[in-house]
């Protein structure tokens, strides 16, 4: 899932301040953290209350889109809702915000979330963690399904740096050493020989900006 976090409400209030009629568009695409219709409605209520305190009387309309990153889906969901809207406040990740902006180039489209990373959700612990940087050269097959590019603080490709203590990263003791995790996983699978293979430095040219599906 693309993991985002809500922007502070005063920042959002500042950004929507010039407008009165605002459409708040939720996104159901990545389910965690929830950014669907409930969050859209909650946000409208909070902004209305906050607006009143600033002497501003917003008119919000709320809706949600199955996946804001899909321009076809977004267009068909939002077009009928757009009537009279002076701005769109999007609850999606940066991709969703830009989809709407491209679909409605005359309208200001404002993000309500800060986009952080591609990650996974641990509902039990209430944590979201990064798992993928979209490097374009996936090497998970050779690292026991653990990504060193994201999970090693230094992004090392050929084993641990040597700075880890008790399995924790020297940059941040709350973080597991990715290479130690990789070693343990491969050891368990009896595939430690995979580590003998040298990996050349990361090729940033592989980070594609456009693909044909």
């Amino acid at each position: 899932m693309i993991v985002t976090a809500p922007k502070p409400l005063d920042e959002i209030l500042d950004s929507i301040c010039p407008y009165r009629k605002v459409l708040i568009a939720g996104c159901d695409g990545c389910t965690q953290p929830p950014r669907g219709i409930r969050e859209a409605k909650t946000l409208s209520q909070l902004l209305e209350l906050g607006g009143k305190l600033r002497g501003k009387d917003f008119q919000f309309k709320v809706t949600t889109v199955v996946k804001q990153c899909d321009s076809f889906l977004t267009a068909s969901a939002l077009k009928p809702q757009m009537d009279g809207a002076e701005a769109v406040l999007s609850l999606a990740c940066g991709a969703g915000v830009q989809t709407i902006a491209e679909l409605f180039p005359d309208l200001p489209v404002l993000p309500a979330q800060n986009t952080h990373f591609i990650g996974v959700e641990d509902r039990e612990g209430g944590i979201l963690e990064e798992r993928c940087t979209a490097c374009g050269d996936c090497l998970l097959a050779r690292t026991g399904g653990i990504c060193p590019v994201t999970r090693c603080a230094k992004g090392l490709l050929n084993g641990a740096c040597g700075g880890a203590r008790n399995g924790k990263c020297e940059m941040d003791p709350a973080r597991d050493c990715a290479w130690e995790l990789i070693f343990q996983r491969l050891e368990k699978q009896g595939k430690l020989d995979l580590l003998k293979e040298f990996r050349p430095p990361r090729n940033y040219q592989l980070m594609a900006w456009r693909l044909t599906p």
Partner: protein
């Protein structure tokens, strides 16, 4: 919520049947109870009793009336039965819910009222006879009388109660039996004929037929004490002076035929390891004896040869100075001058064989002699079968020939047999036979099929879990020096203790087979969850947060609800990001309407309280002060940020969320989740300048003043906020 008194039948329990297996879902305690008492329901009701005894009284009597309908002997069960406790899901945590003590609590309130309880309508239908006035016969008579049959109990002794009359008075006081049974006879119009013996040239079943009885239920119990044997041969020496059957002692003591100092200065040996043996030993101790027990079984209760008596009996006996010699049999009773002197006890190496059959093995080279003045033999009872033989009710191997499902004799139509004579067991098991026979007799006399639809399997729902398990209350017994008499020594629960104990209950069973909340008019009916599949985004939040495993994730997408497990807390509704779920009776719209209504009528500074309905009972009228209004929710879990914000939008100045303390939460996680929701929302409200307007508090019914106190403080805060705002 705005509540309307539900019609009576809506509060009646329903059977929750699993469609796939056809099995009936029930809490394990209720499955364990031979007569299937609605245990969870009474726990729910006791948990919500007001703490003022006067206020609680009417509710307790109503509860008693309801229990009485199913079990007219419940005031007795509260003293002697704890079969349900053995299956309680709390057992493996901090100890079972003390159901027996809770039932006794109700019984102690209910018994004085029983004297004034109105009788049933006079029966007019066919005459039915019960032979034997013990728990089985009484139960059968009561149910048949309720169905309109004219019932007669034929009792060979001079009083009703059967085996109940053998229970020592320190456990079950005579007045409890007398009050319960005398009133039962009056209420159910039971015609009791005392001193009539069946068989042996006296009355026969044909005589009963000629007297106009259309069906007979025979439950004559097990009157004959089992004699001591070794290697299947009678033990020699039983004729010696001083060798007595324990059962006879119990009966004589209860009849007042025995001197209170009978065993003063004498050494008494009791043979047997069951509860009755302990009754005998502790009775002998109360008659002044120096008592010890010898039994075949070993000390480790959990092993296959473990002592069968209850832990409470063993502990109680030990406190009273009764020693136990484990793993010893009696090979020979030795006398001197015709008087009992000692027993020869070889070591018992095994009691039950690999097939689980009673087949004791001894090591005769390891022998001890136990000396005493009195030997009380209490190793079980057997039925008196002559009458059954004379009536041709036995099969060729001398066993009762009956249908085990309907209890009707395979030999004689219209004759039903049950209770201890069928299988020696607990009083409640005999009562179950009475229930089964009553149903069979009713069907028989109406010419209906005796068997159809009667075979039911039971299944327990998944066990709800808790973050905190509360400790089990200790039983309070009088100190030993004060209890060596026949007064009951166990202290009953006070109202407050009963409420606390009932609140520990996990409510393992389905809501529909309980409905305590409906009966108490907390809600008009058990709410159902409604899912709008078109809105669902398959995020799985409902399945993840459900405290009861009532939601299943379907593959490839979507969810389905098992309403047998759902307890209607509404947590899934509050957690659904797609707003695809609704909780019946607590629909979003309905709460919104209430918010509009209350926020327009309440005076400034306006305070709205979202309150878990379990925090205060009976629910107050929702008004604390002119500026405070309350909305009751099924659980704090249903508190919804949309509703809190809506209240602010509609001009409410402060919102208070009142939930049970986390450890008291009926739903396990409801209170905690509400607290989290409030904390998160507060953070965001702070960002827009709405500080201090929202507050979470946990209020306990143990401290009814607490909510008032919280409200006073919150009100001061809101007043300050409002005056500051107006000053600006």
């Amino acid at each position: 919520m705005n509540k309307m008194a539900p019609p009576k039948d809506r509060a009646q329990v329903e059977e929750v049947i699993d469609e796939a297996s056809g099995k009936v879902y029930l809490p394990p305690c209720q499955i364990a109870c031979p007569i299937g008492m609605d245990i969870q329901r009474t726990h729910g009701m006791i948990a919500l009793l007001p703490l003022d005894a006067q206020e609680a009284y009417d509710q307790i009597i109503r509860m008693g009336d309801e229990i009485y309908q199913k079990n007219p002997l419940f005031p007795i069960c509260g003293y002697i039965c704890g079969l349900c406790e053995a299956e309680c899901n709390y057992k493996d945590q901090t100890g079972t819910i003390r159901r027996r003590m809770l039932l006794r609590f109700l019984s102690d309130y209910y018994l004085p009222y029983l004297e004034t309880k109105p009788a049933l309508a006079s029966p007019t239908k066919e005459k039915v006879a019960m032979v034997g006035g013990g728990p089985a016969g009484l139960m059968c008579a009561y149910i048949l009388s309720k169905k309109g049959y004219r019932v007669t109990i034929i009792e060979r002794s001079s009083e009703l109660g059967g085996a109940l009359r053998y229970i020592p008075q320190y456990r079950l006081p005579t007045n409890i039996i007398d009050t319960t049974l005398n009133n039962l006879v009056r209420i159910a119009h039971i015609d009791v004929k005392y001193g009539i013996k069946m068989g042996d040239g006296e009355k026969t079943l044909d005589d009963l037929k000629n007297d106009g009885y259309r069906a007979v239920f025979i439950a004559t119990g097990t009157l004959i004490p089992r004699p001591l044997t070794i290697e299947r041969e009678p033990v020699v020496g039983v004729e010696l002076d001083g060798v007595v059957f324990g059962l006879n002692l119990l009966f004589d003591v209860n009849q007042g035929k025995v001197s209170p100092q009978l065993f003063q200065g004498r050494r008494v040996i009791v043979v047997g390891g069951g509860n009755v043996a302990f009754d005998v030993a502790r009775t002998a101790r109360r008659l002044g004896g120096d008592v010890s027990i010898v039994c075949l079984e070993c000390e480790e209760k959990a092993s296959k040869d473990g002592i069968p008596a209850d832990v409470e009996e063993i502990e109680g006996g030990s406190e009273e100075g009764i020693g136990i010699t484990y793993s010893r049999g009696v090979e020979e009773i030795i006398g001197e001058g015709g008087k009992f002197k000692k027993i020869k006890c070889p070591q018992c190496t095994s009691v039950f064989d690999e097939n689980g059959l009673f087949n004791p093995k001894f090591n005769y080279s390891d022998v001890v002699y136990l000396e005493g003045d009195v030997l009380l033999v209490t190793i079980g009872q057997a039925p008196e079968r002559t009458f059954y033989q004379q009536e041709g009710l036995l099969d060729e191997r001398g066993r009762l020939n009956i249908d085990q499902l309907t209890l009707m004799s395979n030999r004689k139509e219209g004759v039903f047999i049950g209770g201890d004579v069928r299988r020696v067991g607990f009083a409640a098991e005999a009562m179950r036979d009475g229930m089964i026979a009553a149903e069979s007799i009713d069907r028989y006399l109406k010419g209906k099929n005796l068997k159809s639809g009667r075979e039911k399997g039971h299944e327990s729902a998944p066990i709800p879990s808790r973050e905190n398990y509360k400790p089990q209350p200790e039983l309070v017994w009088a100190p030993v020096e004060e209890r060596l008499n026949f007064e009951p020594f166990e202290k009953g629960f006070s109202l407050e203790q009963a409420v606390e104990e009932a609140k520990r209950c996990l409510y393992c069973g389905p809501c529909r087979s309980c409905k305590a909340c409906v009966a108490l008019e907390l809600q008009p009916e058990i709410p159902e969850i409604e899912l709008d599949k078109d809105l669902c985004i398959s995020c799985g939040n409902c399945a993840f947060y459900c405290p009861y495993q009532a939601v299943k994730l379907d593959s490839p997408g979507g969810v389905s609800f098992d309403l047998a497990y759902c307890k209607g807390c509404g947590l899934c509704v509050a957690k659904c990001p797609a707003m695809a779920l609704e909780l019946e009776n607590w629909e979003r719209e309905r709460i919104s309407d209430l918010i509009s209504q209350l926020s327009s009528e309440v005076q400034s500074p306006k305070i709205l309280v979202f309150r878990c309905q379990w925090t205060v009972c009976p629910p107050r009228d929702g008004e604390f002060a002119p500026n405070i209004r309350t909305i009751d929710l099924p659980c704090a879990a249903r508190v919804d940020n949309l509703h809190i914000l809506e209240a602010f939008q509609k001009g409410v100045d402060g919102v208070l969320v009142a939930a049970c303390p986390e450890e008291d939460c009926h739903r396990g996680s409801g209170s905690r989740e509400a607290q989290r929701l409030v904390a998160k929302l507060k953070e965001r409200l702070d960002q827009i300048g709405f500080e201090d307007r929202l507050h979470f508090c946990s209020v306990s019914r143990r401290d009814p003043e607490q909510l008032d106190k919280e409200l006073r403080q919150f009100r001061q805060r809101i007043e300050a906020v409002v005056s500051q705002r107006e000053g600006k």
